[in-house]
Symmetry: C2
Subunit: 255 residues, 2 copies
Protein backbone atom coordinates (compact mmCIF):
# COMPACT_ATOMS: atom_id res chain seq x y z
CA UNK A 1 0.00 0.00 0.00
CA UNK A 2 1.82 3.10 -1.23
CA UNK A 3 0.61 6.47 -0.15
CA UNK A 4 1.81 9.92 -1.07
CA UNK A 5 2.09 13.39 0.35
CA UNK A 6 1.90 16.61 -1.62
CA UNK A 7 2.48 19.97 0.05
CA UNK A 8 0.58 22.78 -1.64
CA UNK A 9 -0.24 26.45 -1.20
CA UNK A 10 -3.60 27.91 -2.08
CA UNK A 11 -2.04 31.24 -3.06
CA UNK A 12 -3.08 34.53 -1.46
CA UNK A 13 -6.82 33.77 -1.43
CA UNK A 14 -8.35 34.55 -4.81
CA UNK A 15 -9.08 31.14 -6.40
CA UNK A 16 -7.78 32.52 -9.71
CA UNK A 17 -4.32 32.78 -8.14
CA UNK A 18 -4.20 29.06 -7.30
CA UNK A 19 -2.21 27.18 -9.93
CA UNK A 20 -3.84 24.40 -11.95
CA UNK A 21 -1.15 22.00 -10.66
CA UNK A 22 -2.21 22.72 -7.08
CA UNK A 23 -5.88 22.40 -7.91
CA UNK A 24 -5.24 19.00 -9.47
CA UNK A 25 -3.16 17.86 -6.50
CA UNK A 26 -5.99 18.86 -4.17
CA UNK A 27 -8.70 17.11 -6.14
CA UNK A 28 -6.60 13.92 -6.29
CA UNK A 29 -6.05 13.70 -2.53
CA UNK A 30 -7.91 11.32 -0.23
CA UNK A 31 -7.04 13.47 2.78
CA UNK A 32 -6.49 17.20 3.28
CA UNK A 33 -4.49 18.35 6.30
CA UNK A 34 -4.18 22.02 7.22
CA UNK A 35 -5.18 25.09 9.15
CA UNK A 36 -8.97 25.48 8.95
CA UNK A 37 -9.15 28.81 7.07
CA UNK A 38 -6.80 27.50 4.37
CA UNK A 39 -8.84 24.33 3.96
CA UNK A 40 -11.91 26.53 3.53
CA UNK A 41 -10.33 27.88 0.32
CA UNK A 42 -10.10 24.42 -1.23
CA UNK A 43 -12.86 23.63 -3.74
CA UNK A 44 -14.99 20.61 -2.89
CA UNK A 45 -13.21 17.38 -3.89
CA UNK A 46 -14.37 13.78 -4.24
CA UNK A 47 -17.12 12.96 -1.75
CA UNK A 48 -14.90 10.49 0.11
CA UNK A 49 -12.17 13.09 0.69
CA UNK A 50 -11.45 13.63 4.40
CA UNK A 51 -10.61 17.08 5.76
CA UNK A 52 -8.43 17.22 8.86
CA UNK A 53 -8.64 20.84 10.00
CA UNK A 54 -6.46 22.11 12.83
CA UNK A 55 -5.57 25.40 14.45
CA UNK A 56 -2.53 27.40 13.37
CA UNK A 57 -0.15 26.67 16.24
CA UNK A 58 0.72 23.02 15.86
CA UNK A 59 2.63 22.80 12.62
CA UNK A 60 4.85 19.87 13.55
CA UNK A 61 1.91 17.84 14.91
CA UNK A 62 0.02 18.48 11.70
CA UNK A 63 3.06 17.43 9.64
CA UNK A 64 3.38 14.19 11.62
CA UNK A 65 -0.31 13.44 11.21
CA UNK A 66 0.07 13.88 7.44
CA UNK A 67 3.13 11.60 7.32
CA UNK A 68 1.32 8.91 9.35
CA UNK A 69 -1.62 9.00 6.96
CA UNK A 70 0.63 8.82 3.89
CA UNK A 71 2.64 5.97 5.41
CA UNK A 72 -0.63 4.12 5.89
CA UNK A 73 -1.37 4.39 2.17
CA UNK A 74 -3.46 7.55 2.00
CA UNK A 75 -2.91 10.27 -0.61
CA UNK A 76 -2.48 13.33 1.53
CA UNK A 77 -2.36 17.00 0.59
CA UNK A 78 -0.93 19.33 3.24
CA UNK A 79 -2.47 22.74 2.64
CA UNK A 80 -0.83 26.10 3.33
CA UNK A 81 -1.77 29.54 2.14
CA UNK A 82 0.50 31.29 -0.36
CA UNK A 83 3.50 29.19 -1.34
CA UNK A 84 4.02 26.17 0.92
CA UNK A 85 7.79 26.72 1.08
CA UNK A 86 7.70 30.31 2.39
CA UNK A 87 7.05 30.49 6.16
CA UNK A 88 4.59 27.64 5.77
CA UNK A 89 4.10 23.89 6.03
CA UNK A 90 6.79 22.45 3.72
CA UNK A 91 9.56 23.17 6.19
CA UNK A 92 7.54 21.61 9.02
CA UNK A 93 6.96 18.43 6.99
CA UNK A 94 10.66 17.97 6.30
CA UNK A 95 11.51 18.69 9.93
CA UNK A 96 9.02 15.97 10.88
CA UNK A 97 10.56 13.58 8.33
CA UNK A 98 14.05 14.14 9.71
CA UNK A 99 13.08 13.71 13.35
CA UNK A 100 10.42 11.05 12.83
CA UNK A 101 9.90 7.40 11.94
CA UNK A 102 12.56 5.98 9.57
CA UNK A 103 9.78 4.74 7.25
CA UNK A 104 8.67 8.34 6.65
CA UNK A 105 11.80 8.82 4.50
CA UNK A 106 10.28 6.41 1.99
CA UNK A 107 7.10 8.43 1.60
CA UNK A 108 6.55 9.82 -1.90
CA UNK A 109 6.64 13.56 -1.11
CA UNK A 110 6.18 16.39 -3.58
CA UNK A 111 5.98 20.17 -3.16
CA UNK A 112 3.86 22.33 -5.47
CA UNK A 113 4.95 25.98 -5.63
CA UNK A 114 2.39 28.77 -5.34
CA UNK A 115 2.00 32.55 -5.33
CA UNK A 116 3.38 33.79 -2.03
CA UNK A 117 1.88 36.83 -0.25
CA UNK A 118 4.67 39.31 -0.98
CA UNK A 119 4.23 38.83 -4.74
CA UNK A 120 0.50 39.50 -4.50
CA UNK A 121 1.11 42.50 -2.23
CA UNK A 122 3.71 43.92 -4.60
CA UNK A 123 1.38 43.50 -7.57
CA UNK A 124 -1.31 45.56 -5.79
CA UNK A 125 0.89 48.69 -5.80
CA UNK A 126 3.27 48.29 -8.75
CA UNK A 127 6.70 46.67 -8.56
CA UNK A 128 8.27 47.41 -5.17
CA UNK A 129 10.22 44.11 -5.30
CA UNK A 130 11.83 45.08 -8.62
CA UNK A 131 15.34 45.13 -7.12
CA UNK A 132 17.12 42.79 -4.74
CA UNK A 133 14.88 41.99 -1.79
CA UNK A 134 14.54 39.86 1.31
CA UNK A 135 11.71 38.26 3.23
CA UNK A 136 11.74 38.19 7.03
CA UNK A 137 9.17 36.62 9.34
CA UNK A 138 8.63 38.71 12.46
CA UNK A 139 7.13 35.79 14.35
CA UNK A 140 9.31 35.48 17.43
CA UNK A 141 7.72 32.34 18.75
CA UNK A 142 9.94 30.44 16.28
CA UNK A 143 13.16 32.41 16.63
CA UNK A 144 14.71 34.87 19.04
CA UNK A 145 14.26 38.61 18.74
CA UNK A 146 18.07 38.87 18.56
CA UNK A 147 17.99 36.90 15.30
CA UNK A 148 15.27 39.15 13.90
CA UNK A 149 17.33 42.24 14.80
CA UNK A 150 20.42 40.75 13.21
CA UNK A 151 18.48 40.08 9.99
CA UNK A 152 16.90 43.53 9.86
CA UNK A 153 20.23 45.21 10.50
CA UNK A 154 21.85 43.23 7.70
CA UNK A 155 18.94 43.94 5.36
CA UNK A 156 19.34 47.68 6.01
CA UNK A 157 23.12 47.40 5.59
CA UNK A 158 22.62 45.75 2.20
CA UNK A 159 19.92 48.26 1.18
CA UNK A 160 17.53 45.44 0.33
CA UNK A 161 13.81 45.93 -0.15
CA UNK A 162 12.34 44.07 2.85
CA UNK A 163 9.07 42.15 3.04
CA UNK A 164 7.73 41.30 6.50
CA UNK A 165 5.63 38.19 6.95
CA UNK A 166 3.69 37.58 10.18
CA UNK A 167 4.22 41.17 11.23
CA UNK A 168 1.89 41.19 14.21
CA UNK A 169 -0.63 39.17 16.14
CA UNK A 170 -2.57 39.58 19.35
CA UNK A 171 0.12 37.58 21.12
CA UNK A 172 2.93 39.81 19.79
CA UNK A 173 1.68 43.37 19.33
CA UNK A 174 5.07 44.98 19.94
CA UNK A 175 7.36 43.27 17.43
CA UNK A 176 6.30 45.41 14.52
CA UNK A 177 6.91 48.61 16.52
CA UNK A 178 10.36 47.42 17.49
CA UNK A 179 11.12 46.47 13.88
CA UNK A 180 10.06 49.90 12.61
CA UNK A 181 12.03 51.53 15.41
CA UNK A 182 15.18 49.65 14.47
CA UNK A 183 14.83 50.28 10.74
CA UNK A 184 14.00 53.94 11.44
CA UNK A 185 17.39 54.28 13.09
CA UNK A 186 19.19 52.66 10.14
CA UNK A 187 17.33 53.91 7.05
CA UNK A 188 16.11 57.30 5.82
CA UNK A 189 12.75 58.47 7.21
CA UNK A 190 11.62 59.05 3.61
CA UNK A 191 12.00 55.35 2.73
CA UNK A 192 8.83 54.21 0.97
CA UNK A 193 6.68 51.79 3.00
CA UNK A 194 3.73 49.81 1.67
CA UNK A 195 1.15 48.09 3.87
CA UNK A 196 -1.11 45.69 2.01
CA UNK A 197 -3.90 43.95 3.88
CA UNK A 198 -5.52 40.83 2.38
CA UNK A 199 -3.34 41.03 -0.75
CA UNK A 200 -4.61 38.98 -3.66
CA UNK A 201 -8.20 38.91 -2.41
CA UNK A 202 -11.28 41.00 -3.21
CA UNK A 203 -10.83 42.74 0.17
CA UNK A 204 -7.31 44.01 -0.48
CA UNK A 205 -6.48 47.44 0.92
CA UNK A 206 -3.21 49.33 0.49
CA UNK A 207 -1.46 52.16 2.28
CA UNK A 208 1.57 53.86 0.75
CA UNK A 209 3.54 55.80 3.35
CA UNK A 210 7.10 56.29 4.62
CA UNK A 211 9.22 54.80 7.37
CA UNK A 212 8.98 58.06 9.31
CA UNK A 213 5.21 58.44 8.98
CA UNK A 214 3.90 54.86 9.06
CA UNK A 215 1.23 54.05 11.64
CA UNK A 216 2.14 50.55 12.82
CA UNK A 217 -1.10 50.20 14.79
CA UNK A 218 -3.01 49.32 11.61
CA UNK A 219 -0.75 46.32 10.89
CA UNK A 220 -2.29 42.97 11.74
CA UNK A 221 -1.61 39.33 10.89
CA UNK A 222 -3.23 39.69 7.45
CA UNK A 223 -0.93 42.61 6.52
CA UNK A 224 2.13 42.22 4.32
CA UNK A 225 4.64 45.02 4.92
CA UNK A 226 7.14 46.12 2.29
CA UNK A 227 9.94 48.51 3.28
CA UNK A 228 11.66 50.03 0.26
CA UNK A 229 15.36 50.25 -0.53
CA UNK A 230 16.91 53.68 -1.01
CA UNK A 231 15.97 53.36 -4.70
CA UNK A 232 12.26 52.58 -4.22
CA UNK A 233 10.13 55.35 -5.72
CA UNK A 234 6.53 56.48 -6.01
CA UNK A 235 4.73 57.84 -9.09
CA UNK A 236 1.74 60.08 -8.44
CA UNK A 237 -1.40 59.18 -10.40
CA UNK A 238 -4.28 61.43 -11.39
CA UNK A 239 -6.42 59.57 -8.88
CA UNK A 240 -5.95 56.87 -6.31
CA UNK A 241 -2.77 55.65 -4.68
CA UNK A 242 0.61 56.34 -6.22
CA UNK A 243 2.43 53.52 -7.96
CA UNK A 244 5.44 52.15 -6.09
CA UNK A 245 8.39 50.58 -7.85
CA UNK A 246 12.05 49.76 -7.37
CA UNK A 247 14.12 50.27 -10.52
CA UNK A 248 16.13 47.27 -11.61
CA UNK A 249 19.04 49.44 -12.69
CA UNK A 250 21.25 51.85 -10.81
CA UNK A 251 21.81 55.27 -12.37
CA UNK A 252 24.71 54.99 -14.77
CA UNK A 253 25.08 51.21 -14.48
CA UNK A 254 23.00 50.24 -17.50
CA UNK A 255 25.37 49.10 -20.19
CA UNK B 1 -10.72 55.10 -26.74
CA UNK B 2 -9.51 53.59 -23.46
CA UNK B 3 -6.82 50.96 -23.57
CA UNK B 4 -5.27 48.95 -20.78
CA UNK B 5 -2.01 47.32 -19.86
CA UNK B 6 -1.63 44.19 -17.74
CA UNK B 7 1.80 42.91 -16.73
CA UNK B 8 1.86 39.14 -16.27
CA UNK B 9 4.30 36.31 -15.63
CA UNK B 10 3.94 32.92 -17.26
CA UNK B 11 5.43 31.17 -14.22
CA UNK B 12 8.51 28.95 -14.46
CA UNK B 13 7.47 27.22 -17.69
CA UNK B 14 5.04 24.40 -16.95
CA UNK B 15 1.62 25.64 -18.14
CA UNK B 16 0.09 24.14 -14.98
CA UNK B 17 2.04 26.70 -12.93
CA UNK B 18 0.48 29.66 -14.75
CA UNK B 19 -2.39 31.11 -12.70
CA UNK B 20 -5.93 31.19 -14.12
CA UNK B 21 -5.91 34.98 -13.62
CA UNK B 22 -2.87 35.30 -15.87
CA UNK B 23 -4.32 32.96 -18.46
CA UNK B 24 -7.48 35.06 -18.58
CA UNK B 25 -5.51 38.30 -18.85
CA UNK B 26 -3.56 36.85 -21.77
CA UNK B 27 -6.60 35.62 -23.65
CA UNK B 28 -8.30 39.01 -23.23
CA UNK B 29 -5.40 41.02 -24.69
CA UNK B 30 -5.37 42.47 -28.20
CA UNK B 31 -1.57 42.72 -28.11
CA UNK B 32 1.15 40.70 -26.39
CA UNK B 33 4.53 42.34 -25.82
CA UNK B 34 7.51 40.36 -24.54
CA UNK B 35 10.71 38.45 -25.00
CA UNK B 36 10.17 35.81 -27.70
CA UNK B 37 10.69 32.64 -25.60
CA UNK B 38 8.18 33.88 -23.00
CA UNK B 39 5.60 34.66 -25.68
CA UNK B 40 6.10 31.11 -26.97
CA UNK B 41 4.68 29.85 -23.65
CA UNK B 42 1.42 31.73 -24.13
CA UNK B 43 -1.48 29.60 -25.41
CA UNK B 44 -2.98 30.73 -28.71
CA UNK B 45 -5.42 33.61 -28.14
CA UNK B 46 -8.08 35.24 -30.31
CA UNK B 47 -7.09 35.16 -33.98
CA UNK B 48 -6.76 38.94 -34.15
CA UNK B 49 -4.29 39.03 -31.24
CA UNK B 50 -0.95 40.59 -32.26
CA UNK B 51 2.32 39.29 -30.84
CA UNK B 52 5.19 41.78 -30.58
CA UNK B 53 8.24 39.62 -29.83
CA UNK B 54 11.56 41.22 -28.95
CA UNK B 55 14.96 40.15 -27.71
CA UNK B 56 15.83 40.18 -24.02
CA UNK B 57 18.02 43.28 -23.85
CA UNK B 58 15.66 46.16 -24.46
CA UNK B 59 13.31 46.15 -21.51
CA UNK B 60 12.64 49.88 -21.41
CA UNK B 61 12.00 50.05 -25.16
CA UNK B 62 9.55 47.16 -24.83
CA UNK B 63 7.82 48.89 -21.91
CA UNK B 64 7.46 52.11 -23.92
CA UNK B 65 6.08 50.22 -26.90
CA UNK B 66 3.47 48.62 -24.63
CA UNK B 67 2.50 51.98 -23.12
CA UNK B 68 2.16 53.56 -26.57
CA UNK B 69 -0.13 50.75 -27.68
CA UNK B 70 -2.26 50.99 -24.53
CA UNK B 71 -2.47 54.79 -24.85
CA UNK B 72 -3.75 54.28 -28.38
CA UNK B 73 -6.61 52.14 -27.06
CA UNK B 74 -5.18 48.63 -27.33
CA UNK B 75 -5.48 46.05 -24.55
CA UNK B 76 -1.89 45.07 -23.99
CA UNK B 77 -0.38 42.24 -21.98
CA UNK B 78 3.33 42.58 -21.18
CA UNK B 79 4.66 39.07 -20.73
CA UNK B 80 7.52 38.04 -18.41
CA UNK B 81 8.52 34.61 -17.18
CA UNK B 82 8.00 33.77 -13.50
CA UNK B 83 6.46 36.65 -11.56
CA UNK B 84 6.48 39.95 -13.44
CA UNK B 85 7.56 41.92 -10.37
CA UNK B 86 10.73 39.93 -9.61
CA UNK B 87 13.66 40.93 -11.85
CA UNK B 88 11.23 41.24 -14.73
CA UNK B 89 9.10 43.63 -16.75
CA UNK B 90 6.87 45.32 -14.13
CA UNK B 91 9.68 47.49 -12.86
CA UNK B 92 10.61 48.49 -16.43
CA UNK B 93 7.02 49.48 -17.20
CA UNK B 94 6.80 51.77 -14.15
CA UNK B 95 10.20 53.25 -14.95
CA UNK B 96 8.90 54.00 -18.44
CA UNK B 97 5.71 55.53 -16.99
CA UNK B 98 7.70 57.82 -14.70
CA UNK B 99 10.12 59.01 -17.38
CA UNK B 100 7.67 59.00 -20.29
CA UNK B 101 4.68 60.84 -21.74
CA UNK B 102 2.41 62.46 -19.11
CA UNK B 103 -0.59 60.70 -20.67
CA UNK B 104 0.93 57.32 -19.77
CA UNK B 105 0.06 58.02 -16.11
CA UNK B 106 -3.60 57.73 -17.08
CA UNK B 107 -3.22 54.25 -18.55
CA UNK B 108 -5.19 51.55 -16.74
CA UNK B 109 -2.30 49.36 -15.53
CA UNK B 110 -2.58 46.13 -13.57
CA UNK B 111 0.01 43.60 -12.38
CA UNK B 112 -0.85 39.90 -12.06
CA UNK B 113 1.42 37.98 -9.67
CA UNK B 114 2.91 34.64 -10.67
CA UNK B 115 5.14 31.82 -9.45
CA UNK B 116 8.70 33.14 -9.46
CA UNK B 117 11.66 30.87 -10.24
CA UNK B 118 13.05 30.55 -6.71
CA UNK B 119 9.76 29.09 -5.45
CA UNK B 120 9.74 26.48 -8.21
CA UNK B 121 13.42 25.70 -7.60
CA UNK B 122 12.86 25.35 -3.86
CA UNK B 123 9.91 23.02 -4.43
CA UNK B 124 12.09 20.70 -6.54
CA UNK B 125 14.33 19.88 -3.56
CA UNK B 126 12.19 20.40 -0.45
CA UNK B 127 11.93 23.67 1.48
CA UNK B 128 15.28 25.48 1.38
CA UNK B 129 13.50 28.87 1.62
CA UNK B 130 11.76 27.83 4.86
CA UNK B 131 13.55 30.52 6.90
CA UNK B 132 14.29 34.19 6.20
CA UNK B 133 15.73 34.56 2.71
CA UNK B 134 16.78 37.07 0.11
CA UNK B 135 16.86 37.24 -3.67
CA UNK B 136 19.77 38.83 -5.50
CA UNK B 137 20.21 39.29 -9.23
CA UNK B 138 23.81 38.80 -10.32
CA UNK B 139 23.27 40.66 -13.57
CA UNK B 140 25.84 43.44 -13.46
CA UNK B 141 24.70 45.19 -16.60
CA UNK B 142 21.99 46.84 -14.46
CA UNK B 143 24.00 47.56 -11.31
CA UNK B 144 27.61 47.78 -10.26
CA UNK B 145 29.57 44.83 -8.96
CA UNK B 146 30.21 46.88 -5.81
CA UNK B 147 26.47 46.85 -5.10
CA UNK B 148 26.29 43.09 -5.64
CA UNK B 149 29.21 42.59 -3.22
CA UNK B 150 27.58 44.84 -0.66
CA UNK B 151 24.34 42.83 -0.89
CA UNK B 152 26.07 39.44 -0.67
CA UNK B 153 28.14 40.56 2.29
CA UNK B 154 25.01 41.77 4.09
CA UNK B 155 23.15 38.56 3.24
CA UNK B 156 25.97 36.52 4.76
CA UNK B 157 26.10 38.82 7.78
CA UNK B 158 22.37 38.29 8.35
CA UNK B 159 22.65 34.51 7.75
CA UNK B 160 19.89 34.66 5.15
CA UNK B 161 19.21 31.88 2.69
CA UNK B 162 20.19 33.47 -0.64
CA UNK B 163 18.62 32.88 -4.07
CA UNK B 164 20.59 34.04 -7.11
CA UNK B 165 18.71 35.10 -10.22
CA UNK B 166 20.53 35.67 -13.52
CA UNK B 167 23.61 33.93 -12.15
CA UNK B 168 25.56 33.73 -15.40
CA UNK B 169 25.42 34.40 -19.09
CA UNK B 170 27.85 34.25 -21.97
CA UNK B 171 28.47 37.98 -21.53
CA UNK B 172 29.25 37.60 -17.82
CA UNK B 173 30.82 34.19 -17.13
CA UNK B 174 32.84 35.37 -14.12
CA UNK B 175 30.24 36.92 -11.82
CA UNK B 176 29.09 33.63 -10.38
CA UNK B 177 32.68 32.60 -9.57
CA UNK B 178 33.28 35.90 -7.84
CA UNK B 179 30.01 35.55 -5.91
CA UNK B 180 30.93 32.04 -4.73
CA UNK B 181 34.44 33.26 -3.88
CA UNK B 182 33.09 36.06 -1.75
CA UNK B 183 30.49 33.91 0.03
CA UNK B 184 33.12 31.19 0.52
CA UNK B 185 35.18 33.68 2.51
CA UNK B 186 32.19 34.68 4.67
CA UNK B 187 30.23 31.45 5.22
CA UNK B 188 31.12 27.88 6.21
CA UNK B 189 32.36 25.61 3.41
CA UNK B 190 29.71 23.06 4.48
CA UNK B 191 26.86 25.48 3.71
CA UNK B 192 24.27 23.63 1.62
CA UNK B 193 24.04 24.80 -2.01
CA UNK B 194 21.31 23.84 -4.47
CA UNK B 195 21.57 24.35 -8.23
CA UNK B 196 18.29 23.88 -10.07
CA UNK B 197 18.24 24.15 -13.84
CA UNK B 198 14.92 24.70 -15.65
CA UNK B 199 12.97 24.62 -12.36
CA UNK B 200 9.25 24.08 -12.80
CA UNK B 201 9.57 22.46 -16.23
CA UNK B 202 9.71 18.84 -17.40
CA UNK B 203 13.47 19.28 -17.96
CA UNK B 204 14.30 20.29 -14.39
CA UNK B 205 17.60 19.00 -13.02
CA UNK B 206 18.96 19.51 -9.51
CA UNK B 207 22.35 19.34 -7.86
CA UNK B 208 22.69 19.39 -4.07
CA UNK B 209 26.21 20.30 -3.01
CA UNK B 210 28.08 22.64 -0.64
CA UNK B 211 29.68 26.06 -0.89
CA UNK B 212 33.12 24.45 -0.71
CA UNK B 213 32.46 21.77 -3.32
CA UNK B 214 30.15 23.47 -5.82
CA UNK B 215 31.23 23.47 -9.47
CA UNK B 216 30.17 26.88 -10.75
CA UNK B 217 30.96 25.97 -14.37
CA UNK B 218 27.64 24.13 -14.69
CA UNK B 219 25.64 27.26 -13.80
CA UNK B 220 24.02 28.98 -16.75
CA UNK B 221 21.29 31.54 -17.29
CA UNK B 222 18.56 28.92 -16.75
CA UNK B 223 19.96 27.94 -13.33
CA UNK B 224 18.53 29.16 -10.06
CA UNK B 225 21.10 29.00 -7.26
CA UNK B 226 20.13 28.69 -3.60
CA UNK B 227 22.81 29.14 -0.92
CA UNK B 228 21.65 27.93 2.47
CA UNK B 229 21.77 29.70 5.82
CA UNK B 230 23.72 28.10 8.66
CA UNK B 231 20.51 26.25 9.56
CA UNK B 232 19.80 24.73 6.12
CA UNK B 233 19.95 20.94 6.29
CA UNK B 234 19.82 17.86 4.09
CA UNK B 235 17.95 14.60 4.71
CA UNK B 236 19.31 11.52 2.96
CA UNK B 237 16.72 9.45 1.10
CA UNK B 238 16.85 5.75 0.25
CA UNK B 239 17.32 6.75 -3.38
CA UNK B 240 17.77 9.94 -5.34
CA UNK B 241 18.81 13.35 -4.13
CA UNK B 242 18.58 14.30 -0.48
CA UNK B 243 15.83 16.63 0.62
CA UNK B 244 16.96 20.14 1.53
CA UNK B 245 15.12 22.31 4.04
CA UNK B 246 15.61 25.26 6.33
CA UNK B 247 13.79 24.90 9.65
CA UNK B 248 11.46 27.74 10.54
CA UNK B 249 12.40 27.58 14.19
CA UNK B 250 15.69 28.03 15.99
CA UNK B 251 16.63 25.37 18.54
CA UNK B 252 15.05 26.34 21.83
CA UNK B 253 13.05 29.27 20.47
CA UNK B 254 9.77 27.49 19.91
CA UNK B 255 7.36 28.62 22.57
Amino acid sequence: MTGSLVIVGTGPGDPDLMTPATRRALSGATDLVGYGPYLDRVPAGPSAQVRHASDNRVELDRARQALRLASAGRHVAVVSGGDPGVFAMASAVFEAVESGEPMWRDVDIRVEPGVTAMLAAAAEVGAPLGGDFCAVSLSDNLKSWATIERRLTAAAEGDFVIAFYNPASRARPDGIKRAFGLLGSLKAKETVVVLVRAAGTADATCIVTTLGAADTSVIDMRTLVIIGSSATRTIARPEGLPWVYTPRSEPGARS
